[in-house]
Amino acid sequence: MSLAAQLIDLLAALLLLMAFAMLAQRRLMALIGLFAFQGALLAASTAVVAWSTGQAHLWWSAGLTALLKAVVLPLVLRRLAVRLAVARDVEPLVNVPTTLLVGIALVVVAFDLALPMAELAGTITRGTLGIAMACVLLSLLMMITRRRAIAQVIGFLSLENGLFFAATGATYGMPMVVELGIALDVLVGVLVFGIFFFRIRETFDSLDVEHLEKLGDRG
């Protein structure tokens, strides 16, 4: 087993760990930090794939990821949190252990789904697809369990991280046009989220999505 494959395995495991840590983290600023770290791990794993396979466009992708996911987005989120005065918020999470157990179950499901596919992924590692899928499912879980708008958005972005990892780890990256398009969408998406935060704040005086549950009972 080559060093690159081992490194990828390690980074993948750490990515999954970050996904779990985000699931259990109550403080918003720490959550943003974890997200930034996850982005950095993602960029590092992309760089390792680029280095080991010698695909030039993956270097670009790694650079883009590092810039966007590890620097720009966390900074934007941090500034948003400060400007919305929710930076010191501690989110009341109920029953973290149960959530984590559900998370474990999701990981098992993801691994089970990914195993047959991993066999035929001829790329340097087999485990990445399962871990990526697990990250995606965990981020979904995080979005479900969170009540604060910013935390939900971070869940959404970390979901995107999982998808990126699937793309680089399992397939050496999508074609460049697609990757650029996705990056653009993510960036615009965060912008729109930002606008949203202010609109929600302006209307409800809070970023708690509890207020956003009035329409539900209308069917």
Partner: protein
């Protein structure tokens, strides 16, 4: 010493101390091929630690004071959660190596060519969490406190004095040493001298001293930066440890042994 207590109160310190000495003697910290090597099984090790704990809790309740019973109950709460996590942690190197014998694990991990084991990283983090909980360290317990709201381990020793207390405290110190030894054996086994190589023992001792120094430093830093958490958060903390261990195991199963 309490006059109404049974022989258990006097008997327990010897028992606890004996268990710890035995545990310390099977963990290959300096060299493999120890006299007790055939018995150096990780599951037996967990059993030894559990035996010590049971006697300690029984003795604490034997005195019949409120503090003793409370401490015993809290200790059991922590231990009941820490033990599965500890077992899961042990299973991971066992799976990698294919044996539950500590000697085999250390020999395999120490002398194989360099390899990254992501699952061992998870196990290491989980192990540190278990270590903190089992040895009554911050953030789970505070070994220096005698505050009724927070103490766990100390509450069980309140009835002891004299040589019994000394034995108990010694056993407690040994326990920390055993845990440190396990941690070193599983996650940093470099420098351990192979069986029959007496010439390498001094170097191994030096390496152990260095590792213990680093470990102690890390523990001190960890305890300094973290705050003691409420006792009701302890299950969550240990749940995290268990979860990390399970996660590591899953990753091990998914990624397979190093090819």
């Amino acid at each position: 010493m309490a006059r109404d207590a049974s022989f258990l109160l006097r008997f327990a310190p010897y028992c606890v101390f004996g268990c710890m000495v035995l545990a310390a003697s099977i963990v290959p910290m300096v060299a493999t091929g120890l006299p007790f090597a055939p018995a150096a099984d990780v599951i037996a090790l967990v059993g030894l630690l559990a035996t010590a704990r049971v006697f300690m809790a029984l003795a604490a309740m034997d005195a019949g004071t409120a503090f003793g019973s409370m401490g015993a109950r809290r200790e059991m709460l922590v231990a009941g959660l820490a033990e599965p996590a500890l077992l899961m942690v042990f299973f991971m190197p066992s799976l990698i190596v294919g044996s539950t014998s500590l000697t085999t694990i250390v020999e395999t991990l120490a002398y194989q060519p360099f390899a990254l084991h992501p699952s061992l990283a998870f196990a290491a983090v989980a192990f540190v969490m278990v270590l903190l909980a089992e040895n009554a360290r911050i953030p789970v317990d505070n070994p220096a406190t005698h505050l009724e709201l927070t103490m766990i381990h100390e509450a069980m020793l309140l009835e002891y004095s004299g040589r019994y207390l000394a034995l108990m405290e010694w056993a407690h110190a040994l326990k920390l040493m055993v845990y440190a030894g396990i941690g070193i054996a599983l996650f940093a086994p470099w420098g351990v001298s192979p069986a029959g190589r007496w010439d390498l023992v001094p170097a191994a001792l030096a390496a152990l001293a260095a590792k213990l120094f680093i470990g102690g430093l890390a523990l001190a830093i960890l305890e300094t930066v973290s705050a003691k958490m409420r006792i009701f958060r302890a299950p969550e903390f240990l749940g995290m440890a268990f979860l990390l261990a399970v996660l590591g195991m899953l990753i091990l199963l998914l990624q397979g042994p190093p090819r």
